[in-house]
């Protein structure tokens, strides 16, 4: 008993000491943070790192809901214009005050970035109204602009001018390195101390941060360790406190190690199988004798439904993903604007029904096809593709898996798209269900900015019409009705066979408590180290 009390007291003492003292956090990930210029990349890892230094105009809570950040309020005032009220008393890391001019400058800088065209390409003007008000005018109505603004990063105009980085550093330009690549001037919770992409990025807590800092981290270092086993070894040997890309096969080992804990959250991305909805003849698709099929089987909704009933997403999540995945049953996921929990029901796995549907569609013996499969970028795609192929074989659809390295796969899509059946990850940029439809489900028409990522050319005119209505509707109740209608239709027509959201998994040593967020950002201001 006495021993317990003593230990408790010691722990409490250690805790208070930890709160008061300088705490350092060393965390490691698989990929390097490329640049500190927040407008010069949309890379997932890099964004999670520069988010420490740069605040977004609108913030994100730990469960990915919008929260006031540098903008305290936002209202639609008509004429395609959103009005943002800028927080007062915010300081940049050099001590200068944040102004409405800085906000307008940053918006105009980021909207011109090649990497943010799909999010901010519609913005025409950011107008300073008064010291605390900025109006943003878009080319057309944009009801989900606030959600997009959680990815609008604000930097100091004076600093950009002084260091010749008013324009985003241009690729292919000759000459010296732009100042913003390894230096930063934001208002974020951490100040950048140094950035060496090949080795480490170091931060220091910013004492004059405008928001609360619930954690106790005073300095932090992000290390890039590409090799999975080495990353895990560095965690288990105590060289790093935390690992943000824990390899799937090592999760058990870290959990079993005394004192170590893991945290997991579903990624803001889901895997799905996409099927050709437009071509008269599907590519690389044959009957059992090896002759090209007269019709494109994937264009028949019954065939799509049959595939949805055959591919068992639960089994893939359990086995291939070792339980580190959340099964998805609609074209939206929790944390997205417009997500409907009751509509998120995966198709039942029912092979008899699938065979019936195939027979009705005129393929009682099935057919032979090729599935293009990206080998990198997403987790365990190789195994997922092989599992899908063996499941489809049970209803007579013979699938040859065509594995491709990512650059090759990407080239096939952007220069074509030349695929009638493939696996891909879908992660609508703005994190609103509307974007699922405008980007991924609408009939592909890049010139009208519709269906830009609809690589399998799914096409249903009634869904296109409803989506167009949604993009100009501001009334919340009406929007809700449209979201439900669209999600129901997409699922019924099987725009794609939804599979799962892979989990982000972090491993931590005992005494480190970092709340996980679905965009994979370690919010350093919330981390407690003992």
């Amino acid at each position: 008993m006495l021993k317990h009390t003593l230990m408790g007291a010691a722990a409490a003492l250690a805790l208070t000491a930890g709160m008061a003292g300088a705490e350092n956090l060393r965390f490691a990930g698989a990929t390097p943070a490329l640049t500190m210029d927040p407008h010069a990349t949309n890379d997932f890892t890099t964004t999670a790192i520069f988010r420490q230094v740069y605040d977004s105009l609108i913030g994100l809570s730990l469960d990915m809901e919008l929260t006031p950040a540098l903008a305290t309020e936002w209202d639609y005032i008509g004429d395609n214009t959103w009005r943002f009220t800028i927080r007062e008393g915010v300081q940049f890391h050099d001590g200068s005050a944040l102004t409405a001019e800085d906000v307008a400058f940053s918006i105009m800088r980021q909207k011109d970035s090649r990497f943010y065209r799909s999010l901010f390409g519609g913005i025409q003007e950011a107008r300073v109204v008064d010291a605390t008000t900025v109006d943003v005018v878009s080319a057309g109505p944009d009801p989900i602009l606030p959600r997009k603004m959680s990815r609008m990063f604000i930097l100091s105009q004076a600093w950009a001018e002084a260091n010749d980085v008013v324009d985003i550093p241009d690729l292919g330009a000759e000459g010296a390195e732009a100042h913003s690549i390894r230096n930063a001037m934001g208002t974020g919770p951490m100040r950048l101390l140094s950035h060496d992409p090949s080795v480490e990025t170091r931060f220091e807590a910013f004492a004059d941060y405008w928001d609360e800092m619930p954690g106790n981290v005073t300095t932090a270092t992000y290390l890039n360790i590409g090799s999975g086993p080495t990353r895990v070894a560095a965690l288990l040997s105590g060289e790093v406190d935390m690992v943000v890309d824990l390899p799937l096969q090592d999760i058990g080992r870290v959990e079993a190690a005394p004192g170590y804990t893991i945290a997991e959250a579903p990624q803001m991305l889901w895997m799905q199988l996409e099927m050709d909805g437009t071509r008269d003849q599907a590519l690389e698709t044959f009957d059992r004798a090896g002759n090209p099929l007269a019709e494109n089987p994937f264009r028949d909704t019954r065939v799509r439904q049959a595939i949805a009933h055959t591919v068992d997403a639960n089994l893939i999540a359990d086995r291939v993903m070792r339980g580190k995945a959340r099964v998805v049953g609609s074209a939206s996921i929790p944390g997205f604007g417009g997500y409907q929990e009751d509509l998120d029901q995966r198709w039942e796995t029912d092979l008899d029904r699938a065979r019936e549907l195939l027979a009705e569609a005129g393929y009682p013996d099935g057919f032979v096809t090729t599935m293009n499969c990206p080998l990198e970028r997403y987790i365990n795609t190789d195994d997922i593709c092989r599992a899908v192929a063996s499941m489809l074989a049970r209803v007579g659809i013979d699938v040859r898996v065509n594995g491709m390295v990512w650059p090759e796969f990407a080239r096939m899509l952007v220069n074509g798209p030349d695929s009638s059946f493939h696996l891909i990850g879908m992660g609508p940029d703005s994190r609103d269900t509307q974007d699922s439809f405008t980007g991924y489900v609408m009939t592909r028409n890049p010139d009208a900015n519709e269906g830009f990522f609809n690589w399998a050319l799914f096409s249903k005119p009634e869904i296109d019409e409803l989506t167009r209505t949604l993009t100009v509707t501001f009334d919340e109740d009406e929007r809700e009705g449209l979201y439900r209608d669209l999600l129901g239709r997409a699922r019924e027509q099987v725009n794609a066979v939804y599979l799962h959201q892979p989990m982000i998994v972090w491993g931590m040593r005992g005494g480190v408590n970092a709340p996980i967020r679905s965009d994979a950002t370690v919010t350093l201001q919330n981390v407690v180290v003992e």
Partner: protein
């Protein structure tokens, strides 16, 4: 002699030219840099604009010519992904790889030489055969397996050595060195050892073969007849003559260690040229890929040329051999 030097240098230039064409063609075949840079998001106009900005639309001979003229002017371009000058990145990474390869060479000589000498002196005994066979295991086990085993033993279980990185480095001019700090030295041990293991057997076998040859020579027999101690005969007379070919091979070996450091660098997150190359491959960063291929080729060609010329200095018969480089009458 001058004709020979000119001939060797001309050969080196031809080899470099061929490699530069290959490196260039390869880098145009490994995927679409625009798709890698912009991801799937960008609009077709953005893609076309970037292609034009990067000069990807020009026919390849034009691009190659531009590439070569830039290289000759010392400009290696700007990395697509990190947006930093490639020459700067390479200069930053070069010391790490050189120190790794150099120390690995010392390790392989330090272990391989004694094994080779022992095996030569005790030829035919089972202990010599056993040690020699053991060293062959080093060649057969892949470097990354050895590396991971080392990490689990010395980092995770014993906690003696760091599992990744270079430790603390000291800047000496433009060169960063890990050889002057305790943490830098500790960080160097495992990567260098993992890299050296595959070379130990090579060194041992070479030393053994050369030494056996030398021990048969007349002057060794006379030395024995004079009653010199075996130790003196082996270590000061025989070894000295054994070392000449070993030193030559070591030069070439350094080139191999430099090029094959890739695996050790990837496992130990060693911030050298190999790791830079791997990262560039993964993101289709063409300027880095071409520059490193060219650099590695230049390194090999330089070493081979120097070795060839040194042979000529040492062996006058090679000089008389003229353009075909063979000894006269051979």
């Amino acid at each position: 002699m001058i004709a020979l030097i000119a001939q060797r240098i001309a050969q080196a230039i031809v080899v470099l030219f061929v490699v530069s064409v290959l490196a260039f063609l390869l880098s145009t075949q490994i995927g679409d840099p625009v798709a890698s840079i912009l991801g799937l998001q960008a609009t077709p106009e953005d893609r076309l604009e970037l292609r034009a900005a990067l000069g990807l639309d020009d026919p390849w001979p034009t691009r190659y010519l531009e590439f070569v003229t830039n290289v000759l002017r010392g400009e290696l371009g700007v990395s697509y992904i990190t947006q930093r000058p490639v020459s700067e990145l390479i200069v930053e990474r070069l010391p790490a790889t050189f120190e790794l390869a150099g120390v690995a060479l010392l390790f392989s000589l330090g272990v391989g030489l004694p094994i080779g000498i022992y095996a030569a002196i005790n030829r035919g005994r089972w202990s010599a055969d056993a040690i020699l066979s053991l060293s062959v295991i080093g060649v057969s086990v892949p470097t990354f397996v050895i590396a991971i085993l080392l990490i689990f033993l010395f980092s995770v279980t014993l906690g003696w050595l760091p599992s990744f990185g270079r430790g603390q480095v000291v800047q000496v001019g433009w060169w960063t060195t890990g050889l002057l700090t305790p943490s830098g030295l500790k960080a160097l041990i495992m990567p260098a050892a993992a890299l050296a293991v595959s070379q130990v057997a090579l060194v041992a076998r070479l030393v053994r073969a050369e030494m056996i040859e030398v021990l048969r020579a007349d002057y060794i027999r006379f030395a024995r007849a004079r009653g010199l101690k075996p130790r003196v005969i082996h270590l000061s007379l025989a070894l000295r003559n054994t070392l000449i070919p070993v030193i030559t091979v070591s030069g070439i070996q350094l080139g191999f260690l430099f090029a094959f450091a890739v695996v050790a660098e990837a496992v130990f997150q060693w911030p050298g040229i190999g790791l830079l190359f791997l990262q560039a491959l993964g993101s289709t960063d063409v300027p880095i890929i071409s520059a490193i291929l060219l650099l590695t080729a230049a390194f090999f060609v330089a070493i081979n040329t120097i070795v060839d010329l040194l042979y000529a200095v040492v062996d006058p018969r090679l000089r008389a051999g003229g353009l075909n480089g063979r000894p006269a009458g051979a």
